[in-house]
């Protein structure tokens, strides 16, 4: 009833292809934006910012980068964690070499470095496909993490081998480091993530997105209709790694505050991959749904046993978490292999037709 599309006539192709062909979609997005920009900042506690809101946004951004590569261009990658690391370390070097630089500018610039690294490790994709390529991206994963450990120039020869985020201010307000308030960090992250999301939506809807989708669906056929595969695959690697790099810089500068090389190890890559796949490959919104599930689930699982008065050791809770997350991944893959975004599409279809079944 509330999703009835009756009366919304399309009289031109342009209006049919518009971003929101159904008025209620725009309305729904408006409500979500209202929550994100006004209601959450007014009501959320420090705990909510640090364990839910900020990480969900950052993970969603990383998954979006991976989704461009895997979901839209069809190149499976297991090296996401390392590319996030490249972004974080690049940002750290930029901040320490040019201390006067605006932190947001540094974060956006650091993505360029990870895009460069991404293109280099994307070159094998021109010859290798499928699982072979996935394993090839693991080469990037292990090599880069090793480099973060051994190349002491990257962490300014710190004795600890870790990078520490200094206090950074922007127009007199601290945005990163120990003195920054969660709410400022939240707004910075939200602004960057929103901007990236808009760019991604339009990129995947446009010419480049169609080239990627053609490459994904069948690359030989795409080549036959005149698509330059090399350009298509390498731009996918570049754009995807750029976004992942930015998310990595945000990950360390706006959330963790410090990072050791093994933070970017393979569990992080898998975490982002889970988000992208459970959310739905080839969908922008899915990344957010997946991030809410994967980030939110452990928080909920940690609170529940306490709330219902069960006395379990925290180590056991952690293991139970891993177990339940694994089982849920299988469960969600079985009920909807195309992800949560596909579930939402189904629900929306039903809502539009409601109360009729067909």
């Amino acid at each position: 009833m509330i999703y009835r599309t009756v009366g919304q006539f399309k009289t031109s192709y342009a209006s049919d292809q518009a971003l929101f062909p159904v008025r209620q979609d725009a309305f729904l997005l408006g409500i979500i934006l209202l929550f994100a920009w006004v209601i959450f900042p007014l009501t959320a506690s420090e705990f909510a910012f640090q364990t839910l809101l900020i990480p969900i946004l950052i993970y969603a951004l990383a998954a979006m980068g991976l989704n461009i590569l895997t979901g839209y261009a069809g190149q499976l990658s297991l090296g996401t964690g390392a590319f996030m690391g490249v972004g974080a370390y690049a940002c750290y070097k930029l901040i320490t070499i040019f201390p006067w630089m605006n932190p947001v500018v540094a974060i956006l610039l650091s993505g360029i470095f990870s895009a460069g690294v991404g293109v280099v490790f994307g070159i094998p994709s021109l010859r290798i496909k499928g699982f072979y390529l996935a394993i090839a991206t693991l080469a990037a994963q292990f090599f880069l993490v090793w480099l973060f450990e051994k190349w002491s120039w990257l962490y300014n020869d710190n004795a600890s081998g870790a990078i520490q985020v200094p206090n950074l201010d922007m127009f007199g307000v601290f945005v990163a480091g120990p003195q920054a308030a969660s709410i400022t960090q939240y707004f910075v992250v939200l602004a960057i993530v929103s901007l990236m999301t808009v760019l991604c939506i339009n990129l995947t809807r446009g010419n480049q997105g169609r080239i990627w989708k053609a490459t994904r669906d069948m690359d030989i056929a795409a080549e036959l209709i005149g698509i330059n595969l090399m350009k298509s695959k390498l731009t996918a690697f570049a754009v995807s790694s750029y976004i992942i790099g930015v998310s990595g810089a945000l990950f360390v500068f706006m959330w963790r505050g410090a990072a050791e090389p093994n933070l970017f190890d393979i569990p992080l890559s898998f975490r982002v991959l889970f988000i992208a796949i459970i959310g739905g490959l080839g969908s922008i919104m899915g990344n957010y749904l997946g991030a809410i599930l994967i980030v939110g689930l452990p928080v909920v699982l940690n609170i529940v046993p306490e709330a219902i008065g069960l006395d379990i050791k925290s180590a056991t809770v952690e293991h139970l978490n891993i177990m339940i997350v694994g089982a849920l991944i299988v469960f969600f893959l079985i009920i909807e292999p195309h992800g949560l975004a596909a579930l939402w599409r189904l629900v929306r279809e039903k809502l539009i037709l409601w109360p009729f079944p067909h």
């Binding site: 895997t70 499976l76 094998p124 010859r127 290798i128 496909k129 499928g130 699982f131 072979y132 996935a134 394993i135 090839a136 693991l138 080469a139 292990f142 090599f143 993490v145 090793w146 450990e149 051994k150 069948m218 030989i220 056929a221 036959l224 393979i266 898998f270 991959l273 889970f274 796949i277 490959l281 180590a315 056991t316 293991h319 139970l320 978490n321 891993i322 177990m323 339940i324 997350v325 694994g326 089982a327 849920l328 991944i329 299988v330 893959l333 079985i334 292999p337």
Partner: protein
């Protein structure tokens, strides 16, 4: 610099041939373990097109079950039999709960499902067996623990007897497996399923039975690998990282080829040890074993996309 890369390492090798042999032997033994894990992966991939990421954790799980059962007071060989029963139950439930509903889904979905299984088994194993490193019951299983000292060219070469046992057992296992796949009815059914699912099913081969069987064989291989690796390094979840090493082995050998998995595993095991000792430690600060195999496989694949022993890739629109 050039001297350090191109001349000095080889001069070292010639100067101390006994040390070179020792390095190669160590590499061979770990190569065999990589090859065994890769073998489990190849078997499952051939019969079901599933890239089984959980093979590594199955190794840990099998070893933990074995040690856990022994500590509960069962005799060593009874625990082995009981562990095999547990691996069968695992294979059966994976087929029943995870694989059957996902038949026909895209490869990446099945791959993700095996990662889900991996996480589940990690959590499950930690809760039941605890996270601390356990001692493998080497002596109780009758594996010799002494060592043989040889003196080639007046040098020193130490071969641990348990390593020799591993090499022999692994060789027997592979030979038995090849005979099983080549000569028996079940083995042929597995290969038929690998060639063409629908054709195999139409002549009456049961997909479900074969999948359970294949996962059980992979579980058996996992148990052997677990015992072997556990005898060398103790049983803990850190073993899981060796599972990653099986992946470049598969790239080198090809996902379909059993002999490729074995040769690839031995090559990677030896080359990464050589590189680590002669180039990695002096020039790069060590610990190159984490990535060397991957980079090597990547370079080989750039020139031979189907791997060293894979089937020629023919692509059609």
């Amino acid at each position: 610099m050039l001297n350090d890369i191109f001349i000095a390492p080889f001069a070292d090798m010639i100067a101390a041939p006994d040390f070179l042999l020792q390095v190669l032997w160590e590499g061979l033994v770990s190569g065999i373990l990589y090859a065994l894990i890769a073998l489990g992966l190849v078997l499952i991939f051939r019969s079901s097109r599933i890239f089984n990421f959980a093979q590594g954790i199955m190794v840990v799980f099998a070893a933990l079950t074995l040690v856990g059962l022994y500590q509960m007071g069962l005799p060593a060989w009874v625990s082995v039999a009981a562990t095999l029963a547990v691996m069968f139950a695992l294979a059966w439930s994976i087929e029943r709960v995870v694989l059957r509903p996902l038949v026909g889904q895209p490869d990446i979905i099945l791959f993700m499902a095996t990662i889900g299984i991996t996480l589940f088994l990690i959590g499950f194993g930690e809760i039941i067996f605890g996270g601390e490193t356990k001692q493998m019951i080497t002596a109780e299983l009758g594996i010799p623990t002494g060592s043989i000292t040889l003196e080639p060219w007046g040098g020193l070469l130490i071969l641990e007897e348990k390593d020799i046992t591993i090499v022999i057992v692994a060789g027997l296992l592979v030979a038995g497996l090849l005979a099983f796949l080549g000569k028996t009815r079940m083995g042929r059914a597995i290969r038929a399923l690998g060639d063409d699912h629908q054709a195999a099913m139409s002549v009456g081969i049961s997909l479900q039975t074969i999948w359970v069987l294949v996962w059980f064989i992979a579980g058996m291989i996992a148990l052997v690998t677990g015992v072997a690796w556990g005898a060398r390094a103790g049983v803990s979840f850190a073993l899981e990282v060796i599972a990653y090493k099986a992946l470049p082995v598969l790239m080198l050998g090809g996902l379909e080829s059993i002999s490729g998995a074995i040769i690839g595993g031995l090559m990677i095991g030896m080359l990464e040890k050589l590189f680590e000792i002669y180039w990695g430690q002096p020039l790069l600060g060590g610990n190159t074993e984490t990535w060397f195999a991957f980079v090597l496989a990547l370079i080989v694949l750039l020139f031979r996309p189907q791997g060293l022993f894979g089937e020629k890739i023919i692509e059609r629109v």
